[in-house]
């Protein structure tokens, strides 16, 4: 502290000046960064206020048209599809089920597995570890056809569980929890054992509450991942009442060679709708999210 004052006394003016300039410079970079990141979304939102013909002819716009309300209304409430039951709200619901079901399922399954790997003396622990972690990076796109066959044989096509379960197969969640559990102080287990707590009690009473922020972080990551799936839901669902938002958007965007004008205004409106829930969740839980990541990273 004394040193600090000394340096400041030694060269008072330049240091303070530079400090200020640095701060302004920092803010400038951050503002520029935020602008670049958000501009596309602003464009998308404003362009969602035009009719398809205008968008087709003029592309993205930066001044509002007068179709904003009707595009959002159509995107959310216009009954589409053959059964005339699918609207934006149904797709929203399905996306929520997929996102939440996937995130919750993954957290439960991977916490259990990570707990077993980290806290138990298990003869085949290394083996189980490798069996799980070789799956860490292989994406669904590469194994999509056999996965489809498996789902069909299990009679899970056109069900929510058929949508969700195959996506849970990769081990990312288990990996995060393993890292986190390993950083939990040893003393806790010892203390629990001295108190006579069994493994189940330790898990539920101590480990789960301790992992709160980690669970929140993983929930957000997995929710967004599940929410944004496209190829798998398209392949696995034929029942219109199971269609998700991303699939709905792609269905509109897909009309490249179509004779008709694609409803891009509606697609953009739907894209904004599809973006909001995960964004709100991310922003709402951001402090937990950041804390969870920080802790996992030790």
């Amino acid at each position: 502290m004394a040193d600090l004052t000394q340096t400041q006394i030694a060269q008072p003016t330049p240091s303070r000046l530079r400090f200020k300039w640095n701060t302004i410079f920092d803010h400038l970079i951050l503002i520029a960064g935020s602008l670049l990141m958000l501009m596309p979304l602003v464009y998308a939102f404003i362009t969602a206020s035009y009719d398809p013909v205008t968008i087709h002819r003029e592309g993205l716009a930066l001044t509002f048209g007068d179709e904003l309300g009707s595009n959002f209304e159509k995107a959310l409430f216009e009954k589409g599809g053959f059964t005339k039951t699918v609207d934006g709200m149904v797709m929203l619901k399905n996306s929520f089920i997929l996102g939440i079901g996937f995130a919750v399922g993954k957290i439960i399954i991977s916490m259990m597995a990570a707990y077993a790997i980290v806290y138990f003396r298990l003869r085949f622990a290394t083996f189980a570890f490798w069996i799980i972690f070789t799956t860490l990076l292989l994406p669904l796109e590469v194994r999509i056809l056999p996965s489809y066959e498996a789902i069909q044989r299990l009679g899970m096509a056109n069900t929510y569980s058929g949508l969700i379960v195959p996506l849970i197969a990769s081990a990312t969640g288990t990996f995060f929890f393993r890292q986190f559990f390993r950083a939990v102080p040893e003393e806790l287990v010892e203390a629990a054992r001295i108190d006579g707590a069994g493994p189940v009690k330790f898990f539920i009473d101590i480990l789960v509450p301790l992992s709160r922020t980690m669970i929140a972080a993983i929930f957000i990551i997995m929710f967004v991942f599940g929410w944004n799936q496209y190829l798998w839901p398209t392949l696995i669902t034929t029942d219109e009442s199971l269609f998700t938002l991303v699939r709905g958007i792609k269905q509109i965007v897909l009309t490249y060679s179509d004779a008709a004008i694609p409803e891009h205004g509606q697609a953009l409106a739907l894209a904004i709708v599809a973006m909001l829930p995960p964004v709100l969740i991310v922003i709402f839980f951001q402090s937990w999210f950041v804390k969870g990541l920080t802790e996992s990273d030790k």
Partner: protein, 431 residues
């Protein structure tokens, strides 16, 4: 196991169908407004009778629909009707036992069928070597030349009949008048497959591939190489522009009035009416007078409906009834009017004529007229396996020609070599 399951579902259906409607499903790839029209047709069919109920399901792009259908078939969960696009036809028809030939299906269910009721260019594209129709043509279109009437009037020219005319007169005059004279939207379909048909040139060995899987592509020929050399020259001279492989990217400059003439699909008509604010019309696909003095018909692109096998007799009966409904002149004319796709039967064409549709929109008739031109030995279509990949190879090499990355000779040598490799691989999948 799989068989047992199929049998079991068959039994369940047999048991219930006595009292209830027979339900069938139809997987299709028609997004956006076309999807709405598909839904309308299905609703009309359901309303027209009470024995059967069809449910259409949108399954994504053509490729996604085909793959979903294949995966479902392997698991014994296939739909009754699957829409398959032109390039995927060989895969489906090659898999003997995957589909019931539509001609057999109709005959077995006492629905009258005569292939000569269909428009000539439509008849044999989805047929086998003996001329038996396997898939029911659905959204059928053929490449035609659209032109901006204002642009042509300004340049003082008429739409070209031949490429020679385009190169010497139409192109330069349009360029002079401040337009990019020409663009096109699908090089493999328009400038390769239909190029061969229009000039009656063989496109592949084995009768364009219809007679067997051990086929070799004949694309490395002088006529088409000369065509692509000309195309590259035109691009360099500003007579032609290429905006990428995407369909819409090439159509857009025409819709915006920058490009004076655009080669697209006869099915584009409906959309163009909505999109453009200048008078436009259409004419037939130009040909090289130096190659042929008697240009022939083109064949269809788009997609067909296939009746999948492994279904109960009741369901097949329902499928046959639906096909019968779909090919009725009224439904065909409605589809034609709504979407711009050609009506597939002569009877529907007559209805459209009587209704005065072509007096109002002469351009809507060009596709059918072109499909009804005299046939030649090489005009019924082509049948090649892994054709999706072959088209991808063509698109890739054509793109490289037009961006100057490669020359015409090398590109066609590559296309020939890679296509034949793919065909050879495909032949091995058929044993």
């Amino acid at each position: 196991m799989k068989l047992l399951k199929i049998a079991a579902t068959g039994l369940v259906f047999a048991a219930t169908s006595a009292s209830a409607q027979t339900e069938i499903t139809w997987w299709h790839a028609m997004g956006g407004q076309l999807g709405e029209t598909v839904n309308q047709i299905a609703e009309d069919f359901n309303a027209s009778q009470s024995d059967y109920k069809i449910t259409p399901v949108f399954k994504g792009s053509y490729e996604e629909t085909l793959t979903a259908g294949i995966a479902a078939f392997r698991a014994g969960e296939q739909p009754n009707i699957m829409q398959v696009f032109d390039a995927g036809a060989a895969t489906v028809i090659g898999a003997k036992g995957a589909v019931i030939p539509v001609q057999d299906l109709l005959a077995a269910n006492d629905v009258a069928f005569d292939i000569n009721d269909y428009i000539p260019g439509v008849r044999y594209f989805y047929a086998d070597a003996d001329g038996k129709m396997i898939g029911m043509p659905f959204n059928s279109s053929t490449p035609i030349l659209y032109y901006n009437e204002d642009a042509l009037a300004k340049a003082g020219v008429t739409a070209p009949k031949t490429w020679e005319e385009f190169a010497s007169t139409t192109g330069p005059a349009l360029k002079e008048a401040g337009y990019i004279p020409l663009s096109q939207s699908h090089l493999p379909w328009i400038f390769t497959e239909n190029f061969h048909s229009r000039h009656d040139l063989p496109f592949a060995s084995n009768n364009n591939g219809y007679d067997g899987a051990d086929t070799e592509i004949l694309v490395n020929n002088d006529a088409i190489k000369a065509h692509f050399s000309a195309l590259k020259d035109w691009k360099d001279q500003g007579l032609f522009e290429w905006y990428g492989t995407g369909w819409g990217d090439n159509a857009k400059p025409f819709e915006e009035g920058k490009v004076a003439m655009w080669l697209g699909s006869s099915g584009s008509f409906g959309g163009l009416v909505q999109k453009v604010d200048f008078p436009f019309s259409a004419t037939m696909l130009p040909y090289w007078e130096g190659v042929t003095a008697e240009p022939k018909q083109t064949f269809i692109g788009g997609a067909a409906l296939f009746a999948m096998s492994g279904k109960s007799d009741e369901e097949n009966k329902a499928t046959a009834e639906f096909f019968s409904f779909l090919t009725s002149p009224e439904v065909q004319y409605g589809w034609h009017k709504e979407t711009g796709y050609v009506p597939i039967t002569e009877a529907a064409y007559e209805v459209a004529k009587e209704d005065g549709h072509y007096n109002e929109f002469p351009a809507a008739e060009v596709g059918i007229q072109q499909l009804s031109l005299p046939a030649g030995d090489n005009t019924k279509g082509y049948r090649m396996g892994f054709y999706v990949q072959i088209r991808d190879v063509m698109n890739r090499e054509y793109g490289r020609i037009l961006t100057g990355e490669t020359d015409v000779e090398t590109a066609f040598a590559n296309i020939e070599a890679e296509s034949n490799k793919l065909l050879e691989r495909f032949a091995k999948t058929q044993n």
